[in-house]
């Protein structure tokens, strides 16, 4: 025993002496493998430290560390001097093996997102069991007892391999390898089927190949079938290489993504610049309202438009205060409609600045809803349309003036024709009378001549009467076309006609029509004319008024069981009491450019309908023009 030890000792000395020459190749390969693995491990560990989300890097780092450690163990086994040393190194070699297996399973699960979990647990469980058994049973998991070492030639060098009794518990470890291979195959197939063929081949395929290799080797070596040293490092290295390649191409992809992101950021900046340019060029003000945080943000231009300073905090109520009181309701209802699901709005309103300046603003917006359908944001652009509105108003004024001029011309022609026609017989009467006076002065008077003159005078008087009758007939030539009609509809239609005129003259036009009014018998066109005439008169009455409230209201309601009364009220100065009846006389007018025909014609039309038209002054100020229309008999309405 002693001599044996001495003998081996002296042999070791010889070997020590010859080692630098003989062992270089294996040492170089294994040491390089280990250091390469360690380098990769450190690198990926650092990657994980920088980005704690990169769990694949951590697992790879553990795998590489395990491989490096295992390489040293293998090297230790091949260089073992005693069977005990071999056994100890092999026993500790199971620790990196466990690390490799477990981290590989976790890596595959994480990286390929494939593999049956129960298989994964099974692999890890078996491997852990193997590790525990390794420290409890026999000299190590593989050998119950190592009886001796045998020197064999490997890569042109002599290395040690163990000889002894195989440990049956080794099956647990080998089972874990087999289940690992099954797990890997299953994971690769799943990945392949999912369409990710590159990863399935590289990671799954590579892992299967190398694991299969080491599994087979462990079986044939440890059961003593083939006599070679354990060189699992080679296959583990392959595993590390494949996985390292995959991860590094991931890193490349990431840097590619970063570059693309930067490019798109630059593009975004460019787009933002362009947007800003467009918005500024179009003189648009931008407003963004955050409903959830109840905050508002507005561009400089928007603030200038509404007269807010650049630092002032914006509140919705405050903004609303800047809207003209007459436009507030409309604006709010439009916004409400957009908020409650319609999503968009497009509205024009007047803004009143603190300086008192009034601007027309057009706003167009879009509401964005959250997942629950609640409004989250409203974004809008506003711009100043005052000039446009003024031009529109001017055009409308011009049109109105033209229409009026046309009406005046027509009335003027009518009046001229009337005067001419009537002056003809009147002139004859006058001249005849004058002549008769002269004839009567003669001595003796020529009575025959005077008689003839008187007859002519009578005839001409008749003629003048006829002219007037003919004129009247001409005025009411169009016979009334009476049909059952809805007074409410009549009022609404006429109000719609007058609405734009009213708006441009800053007049509020109110309607108050009682519901379910029975129909009346009437000529729509004629009644529209009457109502329009009264509304326009009412608006004209406000022109000279300095009152703040510029309002014309039209009401329609039942007046007794058989009559409907329609009233047109204005907030003007009213009609002087002595003119309340005069205003219905033809050619009576209080307007500088009026013809004095509107009211008499209107009264004629209403009377032809069996109604009555009159004027009142209201207690609260302003005039009220009212007319009645009889309700249609039941049997005339089908």
């Amino acid at each position: 025993m002693l001599s044996g030890t001495q003998e081996s000792l002296s042999r070791t000395c010889v070997e020590e002496y010859s080692r630098p020459i003989q062992m270089s190749l294996i040492t170089i390969i294994w040491a390089m493998s280990a250091s390469a693995c360690l380098t990769l491990a450190v690198f990926h560990f650092l990657v994980w430290c920088r980005n704690r989300e990169a769990w694949a890097s951590l697992l790879f780092s553990l795998l590489a560390t395990g491989t490096a450690a295992f390489a040293f163990c293998e090297l230790g086994m091949m260089r073992a001097r005693t069977p005990a040393e071999f056994g100890t190194v092999l026993r500790w070699g199971h620790v990196p093996t466990w690390l490799i297996v477990v981290s590989l399973v976790a890596f595959v699960r994480l990286y390929l997102k494939a593999g049956r979990p129960w298989l994964a647990w099974l692999v890890c469980g078996l491997r852990t069991l193997a590790l525990v058994l390794n420290f409890l049973v026999g000299q190590n998991l593989n050998y119950r007892e190592i009886s001796g070492l045998q020197q064999i030639s490997f890569l042109g060098e002599s290395v040690q391999i163990a000889e002894g009794v195989s440990n049956p518990w080794m099956l647990v470890g080998q089972m874990s390898f087999l289940t690992l291979v099954v797990f890997l195959v299953d994971a690769s197939v799943t990945t392949w089927r999912r369409g990710d063929r590159h990863r399935a081949l590289a990671v799954g395929g590579g892992a299967v190949l190398f694991m299969l290799f080491s599994a087979v080797q462990s079986v044939v070596v440890f059961w003593g079938i083939v006599r070679t040293p354990i060189v699992a490092t080679i296959s583990f290295m392959g595993l590390v290489a494949v996985m390292g390649y995959e991860l590094s191409s991931d890193t490349l992809r990431a840097s590619d993504l970063v570059r693309q992101l930067q490019e798109s950021k630059a593009g975004l900046h460019e787009i933002e610049q362009r947007m800003r340019l467009a918005v500024e060029a179009a003189d648009f003000g931008i407003l963004i309202r955050d409903f959830t945080r109840n905050e508002m943000w507005a561009s400089e231009r928007w603030r200038a438009l509404f007269g807010f300073s650049e630092t002032e905090r914006l509140e919705f109520q405050q903004v609303l205060q800047r809207v003209h009181p007459e436009d507030r309701d409309v604006l709010q209802s439009v916004l409400e409609k957009a908020r409650s699901g319609y999503g968009v709005y497009d509205v024009a309103f007047r803004a009143v600045l603190p300086s008192g300046e009034v601007r027309w603003v057009a706003a167009r917006g879009r509401v964005q809803f959250d997942g629950a359908g609640k409004p989250a944001f409203a974004r809008s652009v506003s711009h100043d349309i005052t000039t446009q509105k003024k031009a529109e108003e001017e055009t409308q004024n011009l049109r109105r003036e033209l229409a009026h001029a046309g009406r005046v011309t027509m009335m003027g022609q009518l009046a001229s024709a009337l005067a001419h026609e009537i002056n003809q017989p009147l002139g004859a009467i006058l001249r005849n009378a004058e002549a008769a006076e002269l004839f009567m002065q003669d001595e003796p008077p020529d009575l025959d001549e005077v008689r003839a003159i008187l007859a002519d005078i009578r005839k001409d008087d008749q003629r003048a009467g006829n002219v007037i009758d003919r004129m009247r007939g001409m005025l009411k030539r169009r016979s009334l076309d009476k049909k059952p009609l809805d007074v409410g509809e009549l009022v609404r239609e006429v109000a719609a006609l007058a609405r734009s005129d009213a708006t441009s003259r800053r007049i509020t036009l109110d309607l108050d029509v009682a519901e379910h009014l029975p129909p009346v018998l009437g000529d729509t066109v004629h009644l529209q004319q009457v109502l329009l005439n009264l509304i326009v008169n009412g608006m004209d009455a406000l022109d000279g008024s300095t009152r703040g409230d510029r309002r014309v209201s039209v009401t329609a309601a039942l007046d007794g069981p058989k009559t409907i009364e329609v009233a047109v009220n204005d907030s003007g100065r009213g009609v002087p009491a002595d003119q309340l009846t005069q205003i219905f006389d033809p050619f009576f007018t209080t307007k500088s450019d009026g013809m004095g025909m509107g009211l008499p014609i209107s009264r004629t039309i209403i009377e032809a309908h069996g109604g009555w038209l009159w004027a009142d002054n209201r207690k609260e100020g302003g005039a009220s023009f009212r007319f009645t229309l009889p309700i249609a008999e039941k049997d005339t309405v089908k």
Partner: protein, 216 residues
Amino acid sequence: MSEPLPPIVHVVDDDASFLTAISRLLRANGLPVRTYSSAHEFLAQRDTDTPGCVLADLRMPQMSGLDLQSALAQSPNPLPILFLTGHADIPSTVQAIRDGAEDFLEKRAPKEKLLDAVSRALVRDSRERAARERQRELRARFDTLTERELEVLSHVVLGQLNKQIAADLGVHERTVKLHRTAITTKLKVQSVAELTRLTQEAGIFPEQDRTFPKGQ
């Protein structure tokens, strides 16, 4: 000059009733009246030698008062025209006055205004008629002059001496003298001053009226 005829008031109106009435009034005021129911009728029956004036309705079918006015202006003895209208509108009033209407009256104008306007028109007619008569008579006298005499006359009225005229025309001074004698005889004038006045009145050398003598 011929024997002066009494002036006649011509009334043109398509309105028979008014026509009768106004002619009654004018006649009662001692004015001879002739009535026409249209401008055409008046133009056809017109007697240019008789003095008078025209009272015409502005609005008439076919030929209006304004048309009648321009037709009348073409004649050698245009009668003054007065317009009557049922209702005076501005454009036709302006047009009529611009074209030389004597007056513009509404049919129901006061009697005095009407009669004043008629007598004014008649006065104007007799004055213009006399002026035209004298013009014609003068023209007749000048028409007796020969071309050479007219040429000499043109120099005489510029105040040239016989010697200058002879030099200008390239004739003997004595010949000029003979022409001058013939001129004064034919035109029945006594002096050069009268000759000059008459020449101007007749408008014989209108282009020389405002020019100063040449030379000197």
